[in-house]
Subunit: 463 residues, 2 copies
């Protein structure tokens, strides 16, 4: 069912875009976000622009016709961030996937928004550089900017917040602006780069990004380490961070997550909570950092610490971490995963994880836990039967209580997945109604017709 | 000459504030920013609040009466950022100078806006922690947030952009909001923390900040190194950054700056351009980093490298850097310094500095140069006779040409001083009229009466 406005839009753009304007129901179904716990629906139409000028043209006509627009990357977001809940048009950036420039001299690259992080790193393979932010999924960089994504390496290299130097954005009236510069810092005017980073497509469409790159470390050391208790593992992490150790990755899998990995792949890991560590630096530095962490964890229940320096050995050691989500899903045939995302100050992490585990057990749910614990961020994977609504409501209650705990502890309802549809109430609880009202004031000033991904971040009374 | 509105305000607040409401001309003169090349004038009145509630009350009444408000920290800004160009009231935060909390566990502190960076670091002395951002002047943290300040340590620890976790802000209508959380990262809604950081008091008054702290390094190694050419020194810096070396400080003084220091203090430094370096880490790491930099610079004209590990020896080595500004001023009795502030991508730094030196020499000006070169940021200190308008117009032309060069090189007109009054045209040149129009849209939405530091960042036709 296509609205009159979208029909009119099609009349203008079908001749120009040809096969890059999509209306077939089967093809549109692909654009209902996956892996989310939200009811989703496809957009009325999809367009696949190939240039900034084409995006501007699309936006101008959409604005004139009052059509809502949702940017689309890889569809890997987890809070319904890119769901076309009001119909309208999805702007699919998959054909805008050129790496325009890589500068080893200035440690930056310029990319179109549809470039994925794996594509970028494959392209950088022979450059001595890499782009660090790793949310797990092979998301597009445009999508990662839009949700202020982070992941396993954020403990050392920061999140998208820290790795975007400049953007080009098409505003809701079709104007093109650039934010930021190629310099490493600037004090020139309002920080529009950070305003758009994490705005989830509600203020405009990101059409180009200048990103920071990092030199590949001379040495990379990976390690896995089992602990007699979850508390011991988390205390080891907290003390390492407090001592100023900067691991490149510092991941935690609880006993239930380790068990899931063992079941799927017979990895033979001990049935205990584990830390997955990686260090970057000179060969001497990575050895020294591992020794410091080992010194901390020895007294806190650390067991058999295994480490590896070659890429092949590292990958083998880290296999459990890489496959944690599919392994968790494999615990129940036909299940669906709902992934939570709180982040707390490091001193509150042990308490937050113990609180979550208590709630999960009391609710009788299957839910491995893992986390980017160096950042105070962890995820519960609720493994749910899609046909058991009672399970979903119990998971929802646990998620709600976890968020309340995080906010009371001075933390956040979302470390890296964004607000989307799923955490709009949490945003109010976290920041208060006056701060959220200020965000809405900004939204209304920049997008007065509310055509850019409406209904996300804010509840606006239309549902 | 006090306006009727300010007179009415005084009628309400004089009984409440007593000596914390200042109208004596002699006292007000203190609030005309120093060190700036702008015509300044004192505000009509100064208030010194002692609590957030008092700030809210002041803002509510000012809004009702249409009185403009300018936040006041230490008065060390360099672009007229805190000048009361439209009269009104300066809100002096010097009595809101409490360090509310220091958390070693979560590596953060909570401060009132009037706390200075030296005060904070003195308070942290026995905590094993420090706050790294060092703009030179003993600025207040509220002021440093407002101008998105950075400085000598930004190459390793980032600028205020990277070290503010959360803020409390009184909005132009008196409402209090909080932005951000105590967690190390968040994807919850628009990034208001970064919107206020660098907004120069034009969107509200910052009344509390939660800042990141860093563990004191195990070892600190300082070094100074003379070079046969400026290009060789700058190339050494660029290659070190490109190799992923992360010095804690990496400062450059050109021959003219070194000469000024020698004249003032008979330091006996060689009459050559110099790098001032500092490394933080384990004892082995700092040695390794220095060795790597030395390996790079040896072939690029590096001369006699001196280094020191004890605090006393480090301070002795770095004396020239610490006194560069007074030494430059001492080159001419009765002179005034005008400090420029461009920042470029690291590959353009050598070209930008050579371009600046050529312009300075052609203009016949006395102007040592130094820079936070690891960030691509450098300053020209024009040492000018306040009674020689021709010198000022030549300096202005050089500054303008430097800014044009920086923007053409993909850099910024201001690395760390902000826009204030002095760079409003540069902001337009740098970001373009549409991006600046978007900034104004945000300003108008948040401060529709334009009472918050009006006339800064944007030219609004009233002067």
């Amino acid at each position: 069912m296509v609205s009159q406005a979208v029909h009119d839009f099609s009349g203008i753009f079908a001749p120009r875009l040809g096969g890059r304007l999509i209306t077939a129901a089967g093809a549109l179904a692909h654009y209902a976000p996956k892996e989310a716990y939200h009811d989703t629906q496809p957009p009325e139409m999809v367009v696949q622009p190939t240039s900034i000028e084409e995006v501007q043209d699309i936006v101008r006509h959409a604005a004139r016709l009052g059509i809502t627009l949702v940017g689309w990357g890889a569809g890997t977001s987890l809070e319904g961030n890119a769901a076309a809940t009001r119909g309208g048009i999805a702007v699919d950036f998959s054909l805008m996937n050129k790496i325009t420039e890589v500068s080893g001299e200035d440690l930056l690259c310029v990319v179109e928004p549809g470039v994925t992080r794996e594509q970028l790193n494959a392209d950088l393979r022979d450059s001595g550089l890499f782009f660090p932010v790793d949310p797990g999924a092979n998301a597009t960089l445009g999508g990662m900017i839009s949700t202020r994504a982070s992941g396993t390496t954020t403990v050392r290299y920061g999140s998208m917040r820290d790795n975007v130097l400049a953007l080009k954005v098409v505003l809701p009236d079709g104007r093109l602006i650039k934010t930021g510069t190629r310099a490493r810092k600037s004090a020139a005017g309002y920080d529009l780069t950070h305003l758009f980073t994490g705005s989830e497509g509600t203020l405009g469409l990101i059409v180009e990004a200048t990103l920071r790159l990092h030199p590949r470390p001379e040495a990379t050391l990976a390690a896995i380490w089992d602990f007699s208790s979850e508390q011991g593992a988390i205390d080891t992490v907290a003390m390492a961070i407090q001592c100023g150790i900067t691991p490149a990755r510092m991941e935690f899998l609880d006993r239930s997550a380790v068990d899931a990995c063992n079941r799927m792949s017979a990895l033979g890991l001990p049935d205990r909570p584990m830390l997955f560590l990686e260090f970057h630096g000179s060969s001497a530095e990575v050895d020294a950092q591992l020794a410091m962490v080992e010194g901390i964890g020895r007294d806190l229940g650390g067991g058999n610490l295994q480490y590896a320096k070659t890429e092949e050995d590292r990958n083998r050691l880290w296999r459990a971490r890489h496959q944690a989500l599919p392994a968790a899903r494999a615990l129940r045939v036909g299940s669906v995963a709902w992934v939570t995302d709180i982040c707390v100050p490091i001193s509150k992490l042990g308490g937050a994880m113990a609180h979550a585990r208590g709630l999960i057990d009391a609710a009788g749910l299957v839910a491995p836990m893992l986390g980017h614990v160096g950042d105070g961020n962890f995820h519960v994977f609720f493994i749910l039967d899609p046909k058991a609504p009672d399970e979903w409501s119990r998971a929802s209650a646990v998620n709600k209580a976890m968020i309340e705990y995080a906010i009371a502890a001075g933390g956040t309802s979302t470390g890296e997945h964004g607000i989307g549809l799923g955490k709009r109430q949490a945003l109010l609880d976290e920041h208060g109604s006056d701060a959220v009202a200020l965000m809405r004031t900004i939204k209304q000033a920049i997008d007065p017709m509310n055509i850019m991904n409406p209904g996300k971040i804010f509840m606006d009374g239309e549902e």
